[in-house]
């Protein structure tokens, strides 16, 4: 039997690396927390040093205050201290029957603000939305991420997986090339994490502030020289659906601190 030409070998190698290391098994899933320096981990561990807790305190205040005169406050329906929402952040994004599509936690809060509290929904990345989301997500800290087994979410998850694995941008990179195949190695000086959304909204030292998962994804897309999706776009919700399934059962860390 004749030897295959070198070009065929090269093609085989490329195919192998693209299918590559592939998805990370549940037992091998690691939070980015484990790859941080000891000092950054110490900031996250100590609630009195974690600057994300400043936003949580803002969120607690917004939680208790009616957004307009005569309108109900979050606390009026969900309880004064928010503990009634334990576990909620661990299962979002979830299916929303009213709008007939999957929505993430931020969109749920914006929807509640608009439809049930008669308020203008806070803008994406606004301090109010980040603070409320951080307050709600904090209630689930330590809970394992468990995406709902709702078949209506399967399509979004598959779309998110395709977006994660598909090459995009001028550099022709995909999320999977870094975060599935090369996690634990370095991109320049930065450690490549597995990319699990365990602690959003989180305080990023580079941002000097709190930001959402969508802001982080937009950062990554800009780095790949791809055009970032818009805040609140269906593409981001699909990615979030896949990322949640990919991260389970890691515990929620909100508000996390990351370099």
């Amino acid at each position: 039997m004749p030897h295959p030409a070198p070009a065929v070998f090269a093609a085989l190698l490329l195919a192998a690396s693209a299918a590559g290391a592939g998805e990370i098994a549940p037992a091998d899933r690691r939070s980015g927390f484990d790859q941080m320096g000891a000092e950054t981990r110490a900031i996250q561990r100590d609630d009195t040093a974690n600057p994300g807790m400043l936003a949580v305190a803002d969120g607690a205040e917004l939680w208790a205050r009616p957004p307009a005169a005569g309108a109900p406050a979050c606390a009026d329906c969900h309880g004064a201290d928010g503990t009634g929402l334990r576990g909620v952040a661990a299962r979002y994004p979830a299916w929303d029957a009213r709008s007939d599509r999957p929505i993430d936690l931020q969109d749920r809060i914006r929807q509640c603000r608009r439809d049930r509290q008669g308020a203008v929904p806070p803008a994406y990345e606004s301090p109010d939305l980040l603070a409320l989301t951080a307050f709600v997500a904090l209630q689930s800290r330590g809970e394992p991420i468990r995406p709902p087994a709702d078949p209506r979410l399967d399509r979004g998850r598959a779309e998110g997986r395709a977006l994660f694995a598909g090459r995009m941008g001028q550099l022709g990179l995909s999320c999977a090339i870094c975060h599935d195949d090369n996690w634990g190695r370095r991109l320049g000086a930065a450690a490549i994490p597995q990319g699990h959304p365990t602690g959003y909204p989180l305080y990023r030292l580079e941002w000097q502030g709190l930001g959402s998962l969508q802001r982080r994804l937009r950062n990554c897309m800009t780095g790949m020289r791809a055009e970032p999706f818009a805040y609140g776009s269906p593409e981001f919700v699909a990615l979030e659906l896949y990322l949640a399934a990919r991260a389970a059962p890691l515990p929620v860390e909100t508000p996390a601190v990351r370099p």
Partner: protein, 106 residues
């Protein structure tokens, strides 16, 4: 009013070394960065922090433009007697905020 987080024990034994942690919500804009329109954003930082115990200064810090946003300062104090701490942050644009906390010693 900027949000603050101040953490210290409510009680302490006489002679014990108490750790006091303070965190202030503040942008600490350096005065060197251009904004979206290309113009330099005006400096807006906290320049001084003082902690007093019953009016007596026990810790002071000066801050400069290289400090990170939301400055976190932690220091220790040897417990002598019960009383009140005051924490004062002062800075650009007339920023002046004071918070208090009490400790019981004994």
């Amino acid at each position: 009013m900027a949000r603050t987080l101040i953490n210290l024990p409510k009680t302490a034994e006489p002679g014990a070394v108490v750790t006091i942690k303070t965190l202030l919500s503040h942008p600490m804009e350096t005065g060197f960065r251009p904004g979206p329109d290309g113009r330099i954003l005006p400096r807006n930082i906290v320049t001084a922090f003082v902690c007093r115990f019953e009016g007596e200064e026990i810790f002071r810090a000066e801050l400069f433009p290289a400090s990170a946003a939301n400055p976190y300062l932690t220091f220790t104090w040897t417990a002598t007697r019960s009383g009140r701490f005051s924490f004062t942050w002062q800075g650009d644009n007339g920023f002046d905020q004071t918070e208090t906390a009490a400790i019981t010693v004994g």
